[in-house]
Structure formats: C-alpha cells, structure tokens
Symmetry: C2
C-alpha cells in the first residue's frame, strides 16, 4: 500500500473518474492488464487508484505525447471500447499539467 511520490514537476497527470455499471464481466482482468501494459509505455511515471462509490485513477506521464501514444495503443483502444460498451455508466478524463507538488510523510 503506497502512493506515488518522488516525481518532479512539470509532468502530466491523467485523472480518470468513473462510475461503473452492474455488468463487470471481464472488468477486473482487463483493468489489471491495462495497468501492467501502461507501466511498459514510454514516459510512464506511476499510477494511483482508489474506488468506493466512484473510482478515481490518476496516471502520471512525462509528456503529452506519451499520453497520446498510450491512448492510441491498440490493446488500450480495445479495452476502452469494451469499457464504453459494458463497464462504465459514465466517466470523465482530464489531461493535466502538474505544476507544483508537496509531500508529507510521518
């Protein structure tokens, strides 16, 4: 159990907020596969994820170009299409430039 620290702005964050549907057949496997695949992409810096009523996944990337390349990845595109067809009631995706960062550790 850890959160992503030790990144140096400026870099990029993709904030993905979701509400999932009742039909989650295949969802967990595909989520895990996509997270493993994201880690292999150029410019990938890390991912934080939490879910209770809603889900929030934030992935961190070196550049906007890295985000676009991951968006265009074939397996990711297929997973996204399944997500729209089956798993997500609604989602919102935000592309952000991380400008400042502060950490606290006891």
């Amino acid at each position: 159990m850890k959160i992503i620290t030790n990144l140096k702005p400026p870099y990029y964050a993709v904030i993905f907020t979701t509400i999932i549907s009742e039909n989650l057949h295949g969802y967990k496997e595909t989520s895990e596969k996509m997270e493993a695949l994201a880690k292999l992409q150029k410019g990938y810096l890390g991912i934080d994820s939490a879910r209770n009523e809603i889900g929030i996944t934030v992935s961190y990337w070196e550049t906007l170009e890295d985000i676009v390349a991951w968006k265009n990845n074939v397996d990711h595109t297929e997973a996204r299409n399944l997500g729209r067809e089956k798993w997500y009631k609604t989602y919102q995706l935000r592309i952000c430039k991380v400008e400042r960062e502060y950490g606290f550790e006891r």
Copy 2:
C-alpha cells in the same frame, strides 16, 4: 453518486493522495466540515473523492489564486495541522492545470 462533469478547461485541479493512520478520531467530522467549507470558497468548481487502500480527493478550482486562498483559510490550516499530527501517515498534494477534458455517458 455522481462525478464532476461540465467543467471547461483551462482550470485547476488539486490532487490529494493519502494513506491514513490508525488514529482516525475526529477525521470524518473534519473531512466533512472541510468539504462543506471548500464549497463556499471563491473559485470552487467541484470535488471528487474515493478511498479504499489509499484515498484520492481531487478538487477543482478556477484559478491558482483561489487554491492559495483556500490553502490559507484559517480553519483549513488548523485541519491540515491536525491531519499531519494524527490522521495521515503520508500524503502527496499536486497542483495541476487541466488542459483537456473528455466525458462519456451511456
């Protein structure tokens, strides 16, 4: 149960990722009070929050100045100090400029 949509970039997001401690006395009350207080601040646009192993709260703001004003709010400062003393093992706070946004709704 809903997520924040309908915002128009550019605007700002504060991504707050946390790991909480075992001592949560007063945590829930203060969290709720701070969320209610945040909603009253100038430039506040919305908040999304999820927690299981880690917590992720993303608040949305019109400008950087609005974020600084909320940071300097006296009640918020007091709550943050309690958070560091008691509730959080570790946290990371990122100030981001939201540049692009995409939504999906079934």
